[in-house]
Symmetry: C2
Subunit: 221 residues, 2 copies
C-alpha cells in the first residue's frame, strides 16, 4: 500500500472523514492541506527532502477566501503537478459528476482515479486507492461512462471556443472577424454558421440560445 499520501480538501468535516479512512487503509503518513498552493509547496518540499508523496487526493473546487492563490482550484493544481511530476498518482474526490470535465481530467491531464462524493463516496475512494496502487485507473460508478468512446460526440477545442465566444455575446460576424485577425481557421462567417449548425444538431437544439443553455448545463463551457 501507499506509504505517504497528501489530501487537498478545503472543508474540515470531509477532510476529517477521509483522513480517518486513509489511516484505516494502513497508510502510515497522511498529511492534509486546505489550499491548493499549500499542496503544491508540500509536494515540492517532499521531493527536495527525498521523501516524495506517492499519491495526491484532491477536490476540484476550493472556495475562495481572503488568501489569494496561485492555483485557485483543483484542475490548476493537477495540471501543474502532472507537468512537473508526471509519475505522481492523483485521485480526484469531488461532487462534480458531469462527464465532460471528467473526460478532460483523464484525457488531458492524466489523472489516475476519479471518485464522486456520494453516500458511498468513502467506500469508492477506498476502492480507488487500491486500484491506483496496483497501477490501474478507477472511476466511480456515477461517471463510469465518461471514458467510453461512443459517448463522445466529436467536440473539439474549436467548438468549445466558439461556444464560449457566443456566450460572451459576440455575433457570428464578430467572431469571424476575430478569427481572421488571429489567423484561426476556419474563420469565414459561413464556416462558423456551418459549425454551429452541426452543434445544434448534435445537441438537439432549436437555435443558438438553446444550444448555449444546453452546453452550460452539461458543463462544456
Amino acid at each position: 500500500m501507499f506509504k505517504k499520501v497528501l489530501l487537498a480538501e478545503d472543508m474540515e468535516d470531509i477532510n476529517k472523514g477521509v483522513t480517518t479512512l486513509l489511516s484505516e487503509l494502513g497508510i502510515q503518513e497522511v498529511q492534509q492541506v486546505q489550499y491548493c498552493d499549500d499542496a503544491y509547496l508540500k509536494i515540492q518540499k517532499a521531493i527536495l527532502d527525498e521523501k516524495p508523496y506517492e499519491l495526491i487526493i484532491t477536490d476540484l473546487s476550493f472556495k475562495k477566501d481572503y488568501r489569494s492563490q496561485k492555483y485557485p482550484n483543483g484542475p490548476d493544481l493537477i495540471k501543474k503537478i502532472k507537468q512537473e511530476v508526471p509519475g505522481l498518482k492523483i485521485i480526484v474526490y469531488t461532487v462534480e459528476d458531469r462527464l465532460q470535465p471528467v473526460r478532460n481530467l483523464f484525457n488531458i491531464h492524466g489523472i489516475n482515479g476519479y471518485v464522486c462524493k456520494t453516500r458511498q463516496g468513502l467506500k469508492n475512494l477506498s476502492l480507488a486507492i487500491k486500484e491506483v496502487f496496483l497501477g490501474n485507473q478507477y472511476l466511480s460508478p456515477e461517471v463510469i461512462n465518461a471514458l467510453s468512446s461512443n459517448s463522445d460526440l466529436d467536440i473539439d477545442n474549436y467548438d468549445i471556443e466558439l461556444l464560449n465566444n457566443l456566450s460572451k455575446g459576440m455575433s457570428q460576424e464578430e467572431i469571424s472577424a476575430l478569427y481572421k485577425k488571429n489567423n484561426i481557421s476556419p474563420a469565414s462567417l459561413s464556416s462558423i454558421e456551418k459549425r454551429l449548425n452541426k452543434l445544434r444538431i448534435d445537441f438537439n437544439a432549436n437555435n443558438a440560445i438553446q444550444l448555449i443553455a444546453i452546453v452550460k448545463d452539461l458543463g462544456l463551457i
Copy 2:
C-alpha cells in the same frame, strides 16, 4: 438550547462532523437521516408521539440513487415542512452560494438560517443555531447580501418563466402564441421583446444568447 434536532444530509462524512458539533453544543437528542423522505416521516412521527423536533438542519442537494423519493431534495422537503408545520425552525447547510436561490428560500419558504459549507462552515453553523434559537435569522457571510433589498433588480416570475422558455429553444413568436393561448399577460410579441430588452440592460447582455448564459451562471434558471 434546542433539545431535539434532526439532521438531513446524504453524505456520511459531513453527517458525522455535524453530529459531533451538535452534541458539543449541548443538544441532547440529535438524529440524522440520509434521505428527505425519511426526514419527513420522522418529523411526522415525532409530532404524533408529542415529542416534536425543534430544529431541522438540511442540505439542499441530495444525490439520486435507486430509492425513488417523494421529496428528492432539500427545497421540496422544506416547502412541505413549512406548509404543514410552519413553526418548525429550519437551517439550510449547503455548498450552494448563489444569491437567488437563497433569496427564494427565505422569502418564499421562510427558512430561518442559511449556512454555506466552507472552511468555516461548522463554526458558522454553530452561530446559526444559536441565533435561530434566539428567534433571529442567520445568513453566513458568503450570502449575507442575498436579502439586502438594493441588490435585487426587480425580476419577477414572469421574467424567469420567459427566460426559461427562451432557454428551451422557443422563438419569441412561439412564446407569444403560447401566452395568448394560456391567457398569460403580457402576451404580445412586442411586449415580450420589450421585456427581454429590459433584461438585457439589467444584466448587461449584448443579445439573448449572452443573456441566457448570464442568468444560467447566476442560477436564475
